[in-house]
């Protein structure tokens, strides 16, 4: 069952109301502002946190696409698998080294 508004309405203690549309608009605008600001201030070899904020903002924008909003789990799942692969790629060597110390 996808994580839809209906489920969240039941799940979260404050029921969704008319402000939902307005909030979506805010998210939409905030995401674009973040993307533009982070890209505009990004420098070569600069801090990676701008890239992360960009990724999160773009992720937010993707979730707004109609085709994605019907497949939220799949979209987030793909992103989660990507993050997991990235994490394990960096984490596993350290763990293996630790486990094999003579």
């Amino acid at each position: 069952m996808p994580l839809t508004d209906e489920i969240l309405a039941k799940a979260i203690d404050e029921p969704r109301n008319e402000s939902a549309g307005s909030r979506r608009k805010w998210w939409w605008m905030l995401s674009w502002v973040l993307v533009i600001v982070c890209r505009a201030t990004s420098e070569r070899n600069g801090a990676l946190w701008r890239d992360w904020i960009t990724i999160v903002a773009v992720f937010g924008l993707i979730l707004e696409l109609p085709i994605v909003s019907r497949k939220v789990h799949e979209t987030v799942g793909v992103f989660a698998v990507y993050l997991l692969a990235l994490y394990m790629f960096k984490n596993l060597p350290g763990i293996l080294t630790w486990a094999r110390v003579p």
């Binding site: 799940a11 763990i95 486990a99």
Partner: protein, 578 residues
């Protein structure tokens, strides 16, 4: 030993009775919230009993047990009722699978407590050294070792002292970590329930937080960062459940007593309080009881700061307005907020630390210690949920405010991320929301939990080959000293370190049953040094592994012929004839 065990049981029963009684005045009727209240009050009670016993000079098994029983009798007498124990959950709320997962984690934690003895550098340098001095003296002492950090607030050490004082042995010292882990899990369970997760998934959210590598490895380390995270989560949870203000203040005061870093969480906690200000809080308690709770909170929260103000004229000693510098003059602790370390800390987290590229050491050296579940599943889920729910967005925003606030207060060093171990809590809740209705993501979730369970079987400080060396020792003598060539047969030893403000493993010299006296000589010349230790009838000197070279004064003693022989890091001095 039997007497100690009896005192341990009696004191713990008394603490539970007092907690049940006092929390009954503040019950919400919601079982998870009431259980969290009981756990919070129990830890506060333990801390206060140890403070009273430490000041009064009866920090002994019988002293602490008597004080606990007297406190229980007085509390019951004043209330004129027996404590209600109507806090039992219905078993049917949870599936057997969720219960088994939680039980596995709890049993593993208890086994770790039993088989591991204090090993972490910071813990054996200043966290635990003061406990050893307290236990030996049967009271609080000004002698707390040579580490400059020894005077830091010691709220967590009070809980550790509780688990040490009855047996006069440190075999259960890490039970303080288990106690705080239970508080964190109860808080997380409540937070998860309040976001609308069902009981099963709330329990799994709590279990997944207990498996966050940073939390799991700190559990048995003797460090207090996990304790800060636990109290922070409990405070957020109490606010979310509409608990009485005095309970929230009590929890916050406990956090402040444990470590000043907790103050960094307060902006987020205050923000969350503001978000939930319209929440009904109809429970009324009489004014005298309200004042009583507030006085207790003020006493606990301010105790170590007032002590430092009296002893050192500085409540934050050794940290001054310009922070605190090490022997080389380099700043090691910051004081006050600043934007530049905050940005550096955010960069450090996002660029490398979040991937946990090195083993999960207790100090979280260069890593966040959040684990794959929080990073891969939790982070995208929180973005998703925050977009769709105002309530979740407010909770996430409050956690984020606390995270940024701590980042603004701490220096950008190799281990700053241990100060924000509360943050994965929101990621664990998000992960549970994300996966609970999708079989593919569920598989990923349990795979991550399994991985985290495996990689946190031992803290990264202890490689697997070292673990059998702990296990094969009889529990009475189980000590890191046996592994690090720090074990000795004398009943008194002098501890020497090259730079006096440097740290060192002095705690292990006290032995697990605190039977050895440890002296910290201050003389700089060989003859004065020899006189100083022999006046105390001490003829064994240990020099710390923190000293790159043997301290100069010991070299001088060797040249002067005061030393009989040398064995490893021990110098056996010639005995003076009486």
């Amino acid at each position: 030993m039997i007497f100690g065990v009896a005192c341990l049981l009696l004191a713990n029963l008394s603490s539970v009775a007092v907690s049940l009684q006092l929390s009954s005045r503040l019950r919400t009727g919601d079982t998870p919230s009431d259980v969290l209240s009981v756990l919070t009050i129990r830890i506060v009670f333990i801390a206060l009993v140890i403070i009273a016993a430490g000041i009064g000079g009866f920090l002994s098994p019988s002293g602490v047990a008597t004080l606990s029983v007297v406190a229980a009798v007085i509390t019951m007498g004043l209330a004129r009722t027996t404590p209600s124990i109507a806090l039992i959950w219905k078993r049917s709320e949870w599936s057997w699978a969720a219960i088994l997962v939680a039980l596995f984690i709890l049993i593993r934690a208890i086994l770790q407590v039993w088989f591991l003895s204090p090993y972490n550098g910071d813990a054996v340098s200043y966290h635990l050294t003061k406990i050893a001095e307290w236990i030996r003296a049967g009271a609080f002492t000004r002698q707390m070792g040579v580490d400059t950090h020894a005077s830091f607030p010691a709220g967590y050490e009070l809980i550790e002292t509780w688990w040490v004082v009855f047996l006069h042995h440190d075999v259960l010292i890490e039970m303080a970590g288990v106690e705080l882990m239970l508080l964190a899990c109860a808080g997380l369970y409540l937070l998860a329930k309040n976001t609308g997760l069902d009981s099963d998934w709330s329990l799994l959210a709590a279990a997944s937080f207990a498996l966050v590598p940073g939390i799991a490895t700190q559990l048995v380390s003797g460090l207090n960062d996990m304790a800060i995270a636990a109290v922070g989560i409990a405070t957020f949870a109490l606010i979310s459940s509409g608990a009485h203000l005095c309970l929230i203040v009590l929890a916050a005061s406990l956090g402040i007593a444990i470590k000043p870093t907790f103050m960094g969480l307060l902006p987020g906690i205050a923000l969350f309080w503001w978000f939930r200000r319209r929440q009904p809080r109809e429970r009324h308690i009489p004014r005298p009881e309200l004042i009583g709770f507030m006085v207790v909170a003020a006493c606990l929260g301010s105790f170590f700061y007032v002590r430092n103000a009296i002893w050192f004229n500085n409540p934050f000693h050794p940290v001054g307005m310009h922070g605190h510098a090490d022997a080389s003059g380099q700043q090691v602790i910051r004081f006050g907020p600043s934007i530049s370390p905050m940005l550096a800390n955010i960069s450090g987290l996002s660029e490398s630390a979040i991937y946990d590229g090195t083993p999960f050491t207790s100090l979280l050296f260069n890593i966040a210690g959040w684990g794959p579940l929080a990073v891969a599943l939790g982070a995208p889920a929180v973005v998703l949920l925050a977009r769709q729910s105002d309530s979740f967005a407010k909770l996430a925003l409050s956690f984020l405010a606390s995270l940024l606030s701590v980042f603004a207060l701490v220096r950008h060093d190799y281990w700053y991320l241990r100060f924000v171990l509360f943050f994965p809590a929101i990621l664990c809740i998000g992960a549970c929301w994300l996966v609970k209705d999708n079989i593919g993501l569920k598989v990923l979730f349990f795979a991550c939990m399994g991985y985290q369970f495996l990689v946190t079987m031992l803290p990264g400080d202890i490689p697997p080959f070292l673990f059998p060396k702990f296990v094969e020792q009889p529990w009475r003598n189980r000590s890191y000293a046996n592994i690090a060539d720090g074990w000795h047969q004398e009943d008194a030893v002098a501890y020497c370190v090259e730079e006096r403000i440097n740290r060192g493993e002095s705690y292990v010299l006290y032995k697990p049953d605190f039977s050895s006296r440890v002296m910290y000589p201050t003389s700089e010349s060989a003859s004065a040094f020899y006189r100083e230790i022999s006046d105390q009838n001490i003829y064994l000197v240990y020099w710390s592994v923190q000293s790159l070279h043997r301290p100069r004064v010991l070299e001088d003693c060797l040249k002067e012929g005061f030393v009989d022989h040398v064995e490893g890091r021990f110098l056996y001095f010639k005995r003076k004839s009486p």
